[in-house]
């Protein structure tokens, strides 16, 4: 059921959650926007309607995956050599994710939990989180969710999607958790629904890019040894920023520490762009060449995860486009990969 929340109603709902200390939302952190616990609505950085928005004004720089897969987390502590549970995961309500991050959550759930054996840490965190998404009405220039099968008003992976209209939000639940949250709000009327639909169409209209995903997959299936990778990777400095800010990148390193005699095992984000990531103990490295590492990332997003779990792992959030210090744009890369294959055909 679709419900209507006046701006004030939403404010009250969120303030109630914030009072319990469970509300997380995008805020300004030094020079970037990321996720933090908020106590008042004024801290939340979430803009919807202004024209000419830059990427960070539309979506947080830090991906929302931090709520199911934090940058660093203690997996467990040790009692002698026996692993004992670390502290329990707290229940959180996350407000202000965009649909791309919602889709990324669905991917992570598929990859970590449904794809057996399950990762109990991700499952627990997802169970304890309620995700309230806010639809995008003004995507940034770097956004391209519609080109990879998503949309600015998509609900997938979220518990609730809020779509801003005149005077408030249209609320739609995607899960039982979401239904509980929206219980008690009045039903939306047709006028509001029509307006939300109009805004969705306008937002989608702002993203012109189209990618023939089926053809891209076919090209990548045969394209491991294509000369395109060396060329595309020339500018890449293998800094790994794209992988850290990617909402679906799931790689991690495992590391131990001893603090005041207490031994802990943690996991921490890692990146396929780093040399050590794949280096054997013998020193041998299957992906020693930077181009091989760049290729691995693009292949993973558009081919490998499709082969593994049946889903693309690019959600079109545009973060890698916005943060790359070398100005590499994955949309351009994809176009180049397809063009290379066309050129190859001409040459035959």
């Amino acid at each position: 059921m679709k419900v209507f929340l006046k701006h004030d109603d939403l404010k009250k709902l969120l303030e109630g959650i914030a009072r319990e200390g469970r509300l997380f939302a995008p805020v300004k952190k030094d020079w970037y926007s990321g996720w933090a616990r908020v106590s008042s609505m004024g801290e939340i950085v979430l803009r919807g309607e202004q024209a000419q928005l830059k990427g960070e004004e539309v979506n947080s720089r830090e991906p929302a995956k931090v709520f199911v897969f934090p940058q660093s987390e203690v997996m467990f502590e040790f009692d002698e050599e026996r692993a004992v549970e670390a502290t329990e995961v707290p229940a959180v309500v996350v407000f202000g994710l965009r649909s791309c991050d919602g889709r990324a959550m669905a991917f992570l759930e598929r990859f970590f939990v449904e794809n057996r054996p399950e990762d109990p840490l991700v499952r627990q965190r997802r169970e304890k989180a309620t995700l309230i998404g806010v639809a995008c009405n003004s995507p940034a220039d770097s956004c391209f969710c519609t080109a990879v099968g998503g949309g600015p008003h998509e609900r997938k992976g979220l518990d609730v999607l809020l779509r801003e209209v005149n005077g408030g939000f249209l609320g739609e639940a995607e899960t039982e958790k979401g239904e509980k949250l929206l219980a008690g709000f009045p039903a939306a009327n047709e006028k509001d629904e029509a307006e939300a639909e109009k805004r969705r169409q306008e937002a989608e209209g702002k993203m012109a890019l189209r990618i023939d995903l089926k053809r891209l997959k076919e090209v990548l299936d045969k394209g491991f040894n294509s000369p395109v990778w060396e060329r595309l990777a020339l500018e890449c400095v293998n800094c790994g920023a794209c992988t850290f800010l990617c909402p679906t990148c799931h790689c991690f390193d495992v590391t131990d520490e001893t603090v005041r005699g207490k031994k802990k095992r943690s996991r921490v984000w890692d990146s396929c762009q780093f040399t050590l990531y794949s280096q054997h103990a013998s020193g041998h490295n299957p992906r020693l060449n930077p181009a091989a590492r760049y290729r691995n990332r693009v292949m993973d997003k558009f081919k490998y995860t499709v082969d593994m779990v049946g889903e693309l792992s690019c959600v079109g959030c545009g973060r890698c486009v916005r943060v790359c210090p070398a100005g590499i744009d994955i949309r351009v890369a994809v176009a180049e990969i397809l063009r290379e294959e066309e050129a190859g055909k001409d040459g035959q």
């Binding site: 109990p120 790689c251 495992v254 131990d256 103990a281």
Partner: protein, 289 residues
């Protein structure tokens, strides 16, 4: 979180064996601290585990013991921080283990067939498990000939010397040992009282001299990349088809369950889809190992 695949269970080091003169290869025989834990461990040779030392870390190792052996055996070369810490541990001390992970050698396919084992260096560990498993009295009739070609840089670098001595006198298998260099003074190299002498030569060259009815055989191959490169042409020459040849790979890994990313060969994870692959499968995958 009762079934957390990241959590190690404690094992006591029952026996430490120094395997070579350089003393950088040690075998550890481990016994589970918790009663009943051993019964939960159903594995087949080829699979691997993570060994863990609290506060130091963990690393993956192939299981060198056969399923029916009471203790779990691992042979570890000292190369990095974890293996150095492990080498410093003594009998009686407790470490952690989690697993078993990954795929095993193709025992169903191997039924009633001749089994050719080709191994170089300290990759012999999981293949030792295969040999012990096949040599078990109840299992032996299920397989044809068992032919082993095993080489190292020097005779002293060969693992499990006592077992090699015993096997070389056994009619149940045909053992071909070799080393890149054989020093005449090495007692083990000479062979003694009917033991197999260690031949001087590289694994692929010794393999050329092996007679086997290829149509009814399966080859299990494990070794350093350079050995593999020169072994494949020999196997091909002998008549082995790619689907009859199985390799055990090792890529860097952290989780063992296909989540942490790094061990992928294209869209396959070595930890989950491997570590044992048929050569036919590998030919279809990019060379990322």
């Amino acid at each position: 979180m009762g079934n957390n695949p990241y959590k190690p269970v404690p094992v006591r080091i029952e026996r430490v064996t120094i395997e070579n003169d350089a003393r950088d290869l040690k075998s550890f025989d481990l016994r589970f601290v918790d009663e009943g834990e051993r019964e939960k461990w159903n594995f087949l040779p080829g699979q691997f585990v993570f060994l863990s030392i609290a506060g130091v870390g963990e690393a993956p190792f192939g299981i060198a013991s056969a399923p029916d052996e009471e203790l779990l055996k691992f042979t570890v070369k000292r190369v990095g921080a974890f293996t150095t810490a492990l080498h410093e541990m003594e009998e009686g001390m407790v470490i952690g283990v989690r697993g078993p992970f990954g795929s095993a050698y193709p025992f169903e396919l191997m039924q009633k067939r001749d089994v050719l084992i080709v191994s170089g260096g300290f990759s012999f560990t999981t293949l030792r498990a295969v040999i012990v498993h096949i040599l078990k009295k109840e299992n032996r009739p299920n397989y044809g000939r068992l032919v082993v070609v095993y080489g190292a840089r020097t005779p002293g670098e060969l693992l499990y010397k006592e077992e090699l001595r015993a096997w070389s006198k056994s009619p149940e298998l045909e053992l071909n040992l070799c080393a890149d260099r054989v020093c005449g003074a090495d007692f083990f190299a000479q062979g003694n009282e009917g033991e197999t002498a260690v031949q001087e030569g590289l694994v692929p060259d010794i393999l050329k001299g092996v007679k086997i009815e290829v149509g009814n055989a399966v080859a299990l191959v494990c070794g350093p990349p350079i050995m593999l490169r020169y072994t494949h042409p020999v196997l091909k020459e002998m008549g082995f088809k790619p689907e009859q040849v199985f390799l055990s790979l090792e890529n860097r890994m952290k989780c063992g369950i296909g989540k942490c990313g790094r061990c992928n060969i294209g869209p396959k994870y070595v930890c989950k889809d491997g570590p044992v692959f048929s050569f036919e499968e590998l030919l279809r995958l990019p060379e990322e190992y």
